[in-house]
Amino acid sequence: MYYVVTIATLVTMALALIRALLGPSIYDRVLAANMFGTKTVLLLAVIAFLYGRPDFLDLALAYALINFIGVLAVLEFIRRRAYHQAAEPGAGS
């Protein structure tokens, strides 16, 4: 039964990857990467049970806790870039 979920998650990961490759904007890629992260959490949780080693859920927990830091870093990057562009037009890109 876990196989159905695993396959659905893997296919969704592939779809997210296609979105990450297509873009078109950088935010689509970040969105896809973030979605990919959540799918990885689900995949790791399911596979821990598929392997019969539920004590390995720590891994999924780690991703669930810290995977969003990357997106916050993107927001901070964009925010700082906006200030730079306001301060010195034409620079920064």
Binding site: A8, I26, Y27, L31, T38, K39, P54, D55
Partner: protein, 108 residues
């Protein structure tokens, strides 16, 4: 009783898999960034809730169930936050909702 839990968990897992897949399809096919974000958030919340609830039924009362509950709680906190942060970033950089996403990258 055990069989009932099994059937319930199968239903939850299958439904979760379906939600995840539909969300992924939406994230690929929707016309612009904000609608794609909407589709992706579906997989992050509904899909995750269903799948993890399904596994929890399989795990029964054990440490694993508590860990799964923690994973679910943190996922439900972090992924909408990430979506919010991403939407803020896109808006700040001048992506307007309601129009097809223009490439903000040079040379592609």
């Amino acid at each position: 009783m055990a069989m009932l839990a099994d059937i319930a968990s199968w239903v939850l897992l299958t439904l979760g898999g379906a939600f995840v897949f539909i969300g992924g399809l939406g994230a690929l096919r929707m016309p612009n960034l904000y609608t794609r974000m909407h589709a992706a958030s579906l997989t992050d919340t509904m899909g995750a809730v269903l799948i993890i609830a399904g596994i929890m039924l399989q795990a029964g009362a054990s440490l694993a169930t508590i860990k799964l509950a923690a994973i679910l709680l943190f996922l439900l906190l972090t992924s909408p936050t990430a979506s919010n942060a991403l939407a803020s970033a896109a808006l700040l950089a001048g992506q307007r909702p309601g129009e097809a996403t223009a490439s903000s990258e040079r040379g592609e």
